[in-house]
């Protein structure tokens, strides 16, 4: 009791006794989560407006006679004539390591029932992206643990790599796999006590997703022990469009904190199609002029200003990075639609997922021909680059040959061999969800198939063989795997060891 009294006394002592000046306004109308306000002559763009009942809004339209303000939260009890006031604060969210392992809403308030978040630092949700001078090129890898990505479409820290595809093609799974793999690497790296180890923290932003899907993702992250390195920002489909519009920026502000403090972070925006739809709704209700597909004219800027905030800072600026994995859902594989083309042009590459491949059982259903990473190859580990350098070309040639081979059976031996090799590469790239592969195992598997060590295994047995070989590599060849992980290019000795290990494995496989 006495402590409460002391606390109140302290608060009273802190209170300024001079008159408080506020700029107020009166609600003219409230509709669809947007309030039109008369007054607020000193309001700033994007300033937080306080409404009765602890409700906040953001001033988005500053007009001659009125202010258009989107309300963040429940607006049903607001009515015409209610007074509101400016706060002098731009919309900010809590940031810091205390948010790791927590699920927060678009304003950074906890929604996981684990109590308040102990953080004093706040970052504005809207911030100008780092300029040219503080940046440096991408040079460190982000290991997704997904073989086709790490081998053919490598991602670097600070890169923006779009994940694009139709519904139910495994877009979110790729993002979650990446988060799970980061947690695994972080745990191993921090346990090793390596002073040069740089953990990669993850932020998953769910925009317009079903609550059941979000709950499933949270469970997956919890079960795999990844949540302790992850912040989840949720603005589900049931949330108002203002929160869905703000959520990616809020998540980005949380990621920027890591970047600006010399750490590395990865942010997943799941997904920006729904984000654009939420922004379109707000813009239409605010009576902003609409353009193509009824999106407002600044829908490109909406995403470009968000994705430009992902960067790799140079040594002088702390050497931190923020990697962005935005997700876009296409309709019937149409990558030439408005929002997909916008985001493709902003990002540094895309991972395109195809429904046909997914239905054929090729999962992850990555279309090698349409997927590209424009800057990531500079960050790829040397060993992986050495073994996987030609894989993309070989796979593309295989797809072409396979299409022709359907029409005739008389194939020369070389073509037959190419088809056999291609089919095996396709098989080793198959990977179940939520089971990322360590980079050294990836190197081992690709080296084995490239050097013909798996040619005597039937194509339909390849998946089984890969699982067995992966297990063999992890449990029986620990030293070899360590040397691949820590060393640069594969040496003759390492290759000899790999060949020996494969011979040993073959004795055990198929028993």
């Amino acid at each position: 009791m006495s402590s409460i009294i002391e606390q109140i006394e302290k608060e009273i002592a802190k209170l300024d006794t001079s008159a408080v000046k506020t700029n107020t306004g009166t609600i003219l109308s409230v509709a669809d989560g947007v309030a039109k306000i008369e007054g607020l002559s000193q309001v700033m763009y994007n300033e937080m407006i306080e409404f009765p009942g602890d409700i906040f809004g953001i001033a988005l339209n500053l007009e001659e006679d009125e202010v258009g303000c989107v309300i963040l939260g429940e607006s049903t009890h607001l009515k015409e004539g209610d007074e509101c006031s400016t706060t002098g604060r731009l919309l900010s969210v809590p940031v810091g390591k205390a948010l790791l392992g927590r699920v927060v809403d678009a304003l950074g308030r906890p929604v996981d029932g684990k109590g308040p978040i102990d953080t004093k630092e706040y970052f504005p949700v809207e911030k100008i992206a780092p300029g040219i001078i503080p940046r440096q090129s991408v040079s460190q890898p982000v290991q997704t643990g997904i073989m086709p990505i790490d081998a053919m479409i490598p991602i670097g820290r600070g890169q923006r790599e779009l994940i694009i595809g139709d519904r139910s093609t495994g877009k979110t799974t790729i993002a979650i796999d990446t988060i799970i793999n980061q947690a695994k690497i972080n745990r191993a790296g921090l346990d090793s006590g390596d002073p040069d180890f740089r953990p990669l923290y993850s932020i998953y932003v769910a925009v317009g997703q079903k609550n059941s899907n979000i709950a499933r993702i949270i469970n997956t992250l919890d079960e795999t022990g990844s949540s302790e390195y992850t912040i989840i920002v949720v603005a589900p489909a049931a949330d108002n469009p203002a929160n869905q519009y703000i959520a990616p920026y809020a998540g980005c502000a949380m990621g920027e904190w890591f970047m600006e403090n010399g750490m590395d972070a990865l942010i997943v925006y799941d997904d920006l199609s729904k984000h654009a739809v939420a922004y379109r709704q707000i813009s239409l209700v605010l009576k902003r002029p609409s353009g193509r597909e009824a999106y407002p004219g600044d829908v490109f800027y909406l995403h470009s200003r968000l994705l430009e905030r992902a960067a790799r800072l140079n040594e002088k600026n702390g050497n931190g990075s923020l990697t962005a994995l935005p997700i876009i859902e296409t309709q019937a594989g149409d990558v030439a639609a408005y929002i997909p083309t916008n985001v493709i042009s902003i990002t540094d590459g895309q991972i395109f997922l195809e429904t046909d491949l997914f239905n054929q059982g090729i999962r992850p259903a990555i279309s090698v021909g349409l997927s590209v990473s424009r800057v990531g190859s500079a960050a790829q580990t040397k060993a992986l680059k050495q073994v996987a350098g030609k894989t993309k070309l070989e796979l593309a040639q295989y797809r072409e040959l396979a299409a022709f081979a359907q029409f005739g059976s008389d194939l020369d031996a070389r073509t037959q061999a190419q088809l056999e090799r291609g089919a095996r590469i396709v098989e080793i790239f198959k990977q179940p969800a939520f089971s990322p592969k360590p980079v050294e195992v990836q190197v081992g598997l690709i080296w084995a198939v490239q050097n013909g060590h798996l040619d005597d295994i039937a194509v339909n047995k390849m998946v089984e063989a890969c699982i067995s070989l992966q297990e063999f590599f992890i449990t029986r060849t620990e030293d070899l795997m360590n040397s691949i992980r820590t060393g640069g290019k594969l040496t003759k000795d390492t290759e000899a060891d790999l060949a020996k290990a494969l011979e040993d494995w073959k004795l055990t496989f198929g028993d």
Binding site: I8, E11, K14, L15, V20, E38, S41, Q42
Partner: protein, 133 residues
């Protein structure tokens, strides 16, 4: 807000400018003159124009008027001093109108257009409750 095109809004605003004295105060005489001239030469959309004129005129009056809410007693000298200080701070003549408001408990709350200066006990208690929330 009344819906009207930009030109009509602009015209209504210029009518308000014509209704002001040199010191920026709304003059009854000038307002009457504006209304008489509108009556003499009626134009399309007169009703909307008059509504807009009234809206902007009210806003202008609010800008040059300070509502001084108080609880307890307010000496005429204090009111005059408030008027003088506000006029100096806003750079235009402000007239103060006193209104008793017992819910303030003690102190003053002054509103000039959309600016509110709160020096009341009720306001401070509200601030206190917010800071310990």
């Amino acid at each position: 807000m009344i819906t009207a095109d930009k030109s009509l809004k602009g015209f209504a605003r210029s009518l308000v400018q014509l209704s002001l004295e040199d010191d920026g105060q709304v003059s009854d005489e000038r307002v009457n003159a504006v209304l008489n001239s509108l009556k003499a030469k009626p134009r399309r959309g007169l009703k909307t124009l008059l509504k807009l004129f009234l809206y902007y005129l009210k806003r202008e009056i609010r800008h040059s008027q300070a509502i001084v809410e108080y609880s307890g007693k307010l000496a005429p000298v204090t009111l005059a001093r408030i008027e003088k200080n506000l006029s100096e701070s806003y750079g235009r003549k402000i007239t103060a109108v006193a209104r008793e408001n017992p819910s303030l408990v003690a102190g003053l709350r002054i509103s000039v257009a959309d600016d509110v200066l709160d020096a009341s006990v009720a306001g401070r208690l509200e601030n206190l409750s917010r800071s310990v929330r």
